[in-house]
């Protein structure tokens, strides 16, 4: 097991099989967030925070679009099994102790968004020598950078005054989504010979 993607080819490119698996995972996760946001966004905006929702939706769509074009795809039959299992994981989950279904759904969407944006660090998988001219390398760096900004909306919402009475429930929901996302991400990486430091 390696800590980073690779071995790189002579031009500093990540092997196509690793590109394919990583990109498929990220497309699944960010695609799921985009679908949830599209569902939550009203046709006509009525509150200021709807503008942020709109921005998030299009940023998630950009991530998916970027990966589809920047990845050097390889045939990977295992994805036929993996993708459905990932998609199932992103489905809405109830949040215990939150009786209001709309609020629970919003918290779960934000928790999943926080986990996908915070727990997954695709650029940290790149070895030192990865070529900055390679589109896949650039895509991973861009996605990680943008994730740091995107998660601010989730942080503001999840740590906001409105949810303070439900702090423990919200915290538990986010911790669970993080654990789930990390587990799937680590398992996917192991499948292509990568093990993040400190994870076994």
């Amino acid at each position: 097991m390696n800590q980073f993607l690779g071995p790189l080819d002579q031009s500093g490119r990540v092997p196509p099989r690793q590109q394919t698996r990583v990109a498929a995972f990220l497309i699944s996760a960010h695609g799921a967030l985009a679908r949830r946001l599209a569902f939550a966004l009203p046709a006509r905006m009525k509150a200021a925070w709807h503008t942020e929702l709109n921005a998030q939706l299009h940023q998630e769509a950009e991530t998916v679009s970027l990966l589809m074009r920047a990845t050097f795809w390889a045939l990977d039959p295992e994805l036929l099994l993996l993708v459905p299992s990932w998609e199932a994981a992103w489905l809405p989950k109830p949040v215990p102790e939150i009786a209001d279904l709309t609020m629970a759904s919003t918290i779960d969407t934000a928790a999943l968004g926080h986990a996908v944006h915070a727990a997954i660090r695709p650029a940290a998988l790149l070895p030192d020598k990865a070529s900055g001219d390679d589109p896949f390398v650039m895509a991973l760096r861009r996605i990680e950078f943008e994730n740091g900004r995107l998660m601010q909306a989730q942080i503001l919402f999840l740590k906001g005054q409105d949810l303070l009475p439900f702090r423990d429930a919200v915290n538990a929901a986010v911790e669970q989504r993080h654990a789930q996302v990390r587990e799937l991400w680590d398992a996917m990486l192991k499948g292509v010979g990568v093990q993040r430091e400190g994870r076994s």
């Binding site: 915070a118 990680e144 740091g148 998660m151 601010q152 942080i155 999840l158 911790e175 993080h178 400190g198």
Partner: protein, 330 residues
């Protein structure tokens, strides 16, 4: 900044002592805290508390020096740092103090000296206020008990920088603020390598959580008098992130304290002047154990190199000024 990554369980033979350099985890609530103990099982031990963007490997030079001097040494990653768990939304400073309490409990009945830098200095101060009876001495370094406007605004700017530019941007801000030209110059063409390990182990959300634990920070000054253990306060001569006045608050409120100014040093002198700082830690602990320590609110100047003489700050001059201004007559 050579980052030497050891195996999960390594061992070293230092000065005839067989010492285990273990990397176990401590359980705190549902979280794991990664720590490392080196050196003899008995006798004095130092517990070192990281700064905000630090990770425990950056104390490697201290481990070597202190173990060679028959000290135990404990380093750890705070919750939210390095290989310790990173709580997703909330980390309170009380959590760090509680972790420290658990860690110090595991060391048993031996003289414990607690040292912390910057953010870690706050945690060490809070620990000494709440659990002073469990330590033999305290070393706050590049730290503060208050958040005056300059530091508050700098902290806000760093948080905004982290949010907008990520960990890399925060590092870009901190490196030139906290380290000298002499340290940076030979590394100018390798800065990406210097920053890489810190960037790898630090997650934006976790650093943000650590920073946001200051949003409701209450000054510690009114409680500093409760610190009854010998205290050596270390401050870099050119530290403008936490300047002299912030350390002066510690000196004037902690009864058995002395302020030692590290010449030509900036905020991150523990990194830049590791040999000197480790030597000062050893000398302080020995003075305390041999009952030779006398803080007395003194202001002293550390030597340029390890082993040199610590001299008093000239009594007639004002140590809070950057020019040789005489103290006002009082």
């Amino acid at each position: 900044l050579t980052y030497l990554k050891g195996s999960a369980w390594g061992s070293a033979n230092v000065g005839g002592l067989i010492t285990d350099a273990a990397m176990p985890f401590l359980a705190y609530c549902s979280h794991r805290v990664r720590y490392e103990i080196s050196g003899p099982d008995t006798g004095p031990a130092y517990v070192l508390v990281n700064g905000l963007t630090q990770y425990s490997e950056l104390w490697a030079a201290y481990r070597d020096t202190l173990v060679a001097q028959n000290f135990g040494i404990v380093t750890f990653d705070l919750l939210g740092q390095g290989e310790s768990d990173k709580p997703t939304l909330f980390i309170g400073q009380d959590d760090h103090v509680a972790v420290l309490r658990l860690l110090i409990e595991t060391l048993g009945n031996r003289p414990i000296f607690l040292a912390g830098i910057s953010f870690g200095g706050i945690i060490a101060l809070r620990y000494a206020i709440e659990h002073g009876e469990t330590i033999a001495g305290l070393v706050p370094m590049s730290t503060f008990a208050e958040l005056p406007p300059q530091l508050f605004l700098l902290g806000n700017a760093m948080r905004t920088g982290l949010i907008l530019g990520g960990t890399g941007y925060l590092q870009d801000m901190l490196l030139p603020m906290n380290l000298s030209d002499a340290w940076l110059a030979p590394l100018m063409d390798k800065l990406d390598t210097v920053k890489r390990q810190g960037w790898l182990v630090n997650d934006v959300y976790a650093l943000q959580n650590l920073m946001e634990s200051f949003l409701h920070f209450e000054p510690l000054t009114p409680q500093l008098h409760q610190i009854r253990v010998p205290t050596m306060i270390l401050n870099g001569e050119f530290d403008f992130l936490t300047p002299r006045t912030l350390h002066e608050t510690l000196r004037t409120h902690i009864p058995d304290s002395a302020l030692i100014i590290i010449p030509r040093a900036y905020h991150a002198f523990t990194l830049e002047k590791a040999a000197l700082t480790a030597d000062l830690l050893v000398r302080f602990a020995r003075e305390v154990m041999e009952k030779r320590w006398s803080g007395g609110g003194a202001v002293r100047i550390a030597p340029e190199e390890a082993g040199g003489q610590i001299v008093p700050f000239p009594a007639e001059f004002d140590h809070l000024r950057a020019i040789p201004a005489r103290k006002p007559a009082s």
